[in-house]
């Protein structure tokens, strides 16, 4: 997909900027005129000031950013690898799936954020508990997409493979796996977003570092500008993640 299709042409851009400018001017005006209490909504200039100070002057947010992203990446990689491996095991061994699937479905049904306190007891306030929450989300998402992808193999390909005399591992490597990749990729994209969600959520509970931890401290002391600043940063990270995954997908799956 071209940038033009995603972001629109120049005129669309102009309209978008005008809309945002009007929004922020109104927001600023509502806050300064005390129409709405700034403790509730903060102030755009205050948010910019906060971000500038914490990112470029004290650089404290950079440190938090690295902790959160590090946790997210570790949770994502571990969760994805485990999800793909177990998913492939399910695809190749229906018995294993029959045994484990109901158990996994029950585990997946638990609200994972509710497990965060438990993980904090087990793994402490550091990175471990954050990774555990992120992992528990990513794993199941990637697992189910891997199983769906593995199941989605074209029966004609299997017939062809059998008449060619393909071995079980050849069928898997040359037909099942490549045809599963696009579906697995959808799971990975979602898994990365959920890894971030899990890590930030666990940081909000209790942590030593991270954007989630700073967010909860700021919110507890009614520093609304800071809260908005971090929410803005998090949404930027989310946008970065999905566009990164999109361009990776387009590169790897040119054949689609």
């Amino acid at each position: 997909m071209t940038d033009e299709r995603v972001w629109g042409s120049g005129r669309i851009w102009a309209a978008r900027l005008v809309l945002l400018a009007v929004f922020f001017v109104l927001w600023e005006w509502a806050a300064t005129s005390k129409l709405i209490d700034p403790i509730l909504i903060g102030k755009p200039t205050g948010i910019v000031q906060y971000l500038w100070h914490e990112v470029f002057v004290t650089q404290s947010l950079l440190n938090d950013f690295y902790w959160s992203m590090g946790g997210t990446m570790i949770a994502f990689v571990l969760g994805s690898v485990a999800g793909v491996l177990v998913g492939m095991l399910f695809v190749t061994s229906p018995t294993t799936e029959a045994v484990l699937n109901p158990i996994f479905t029950a585990l997946n049904a638990m609200p994972r954020i509710a497990l965060a306190p438990l993980f904090i007891i087990w793994f402490g306030l550091g990175l471990g508990s954050k990774v555990a929450v992120g992992f528990s989300l990513t794993f199941f998402i990637v697992l189910s997409s891997t199983v769906a992808g593995g199941r989605g193999v074209n029966p004609d390909h299997i017939t062809l493979a059998r008449t060619l005399g393909a071995s079980g591992s050849q069928i898997f490597r040359k037909f099942v796996l490549p045809s599963a990749v696009p579906v697995i990729f959808n799971g990975l994209r979602l898994g990365l977003v959920f890894a971030l969600l899990g890590v930030i959520g666990a940081e909000i509970f209790a942590s030593e570092h991270g954007l989630g931890q700073t967010l909860s401290v700021l919110a507890a002391s009614f520093k609304t500008n800071g809260v908005f600043g971090i929410i803005f940063l998090l949404s930027m990270i989310g946008v970065g993640i999905s566009s990164g995954m999109n361009s990776l997908e387009n590169r790897l799956l040119r054949w689609r």
Binding site: L160, T163, L164, K174, L253, W255
Partner: protein, 276 residues
Amino acid sequence: MNMAMNPTQMKASAGTVAKPAPGSIIFDKVSVAFEAAKLTAVSEFSLNIAPSEFVSIVGPSGCGKTTLLNFAAGLLPSGAGRGTLLVNGKPPVTGSHDLAYMLARDALAPWRTALGNAELGAEVRGVPAEKRRARAVDLLEKVGLKGFENAYPKALSQGMRQRVALARTFSLDSPILLMDEPFGALDAQTKLQLEDVLLSLWQREQRTVLFITHDLSEAVSMSDRVLVMSSRPGRIIADVPITLGRPRSVRALQKEPHYHELYAQVWSKLEEGLSQ
């Protein structure tokens, strides 16, 4: 069923006494029944296909044509087929290197380029990379796809995709080709072109072809022999030798009177079979 009354049947089964030649396919009193579905797909089917012969089977849908092909390819569940079937002198085995199977749908791998697809069969069968690539490049040229080696299937038309499937089938060294309505999904014009492509490939290499179709004109224009099958349970009701010269051009045949006579002959047999 009054099988014994059928002279064609008698002749075909008499042939099986001879020692099977390499490249031959011999069906001797083959029956296929699917226990689970309580269905007899084929009953006492006998046919002797000589090496490098091009034989087509036509018949109404559900007459068991594809079942016969699947039996020869070793794709039937064990115990479903009875009688003697010898493919290249051996009982059918799944994945036998003696045969190449071409399906009705192209079954191209969308993640592989045309070249990657053309060499897929040989790759699975362990042909060294350099050899199979050279072969695939050559075949893509022969089927008229020179310059499309690096195109992905999504960029190819249906006819082009079936050309790639032809190249994939011919890139295998198997002496026997089994084809299950490979051009069934194509429009009439594309179909004629591809039939000529198939004939030219076959003419060069002289492999045995067992071709399944429900299209009479396709069967008559390409084959040495056309077998007409009755509706289920399928049995042979006619074995018509196609006395047209070789090499042939399917497109040129369209204007040849003898071709139309043969077509009418096969057609009347098929009609007899349906009204029985």
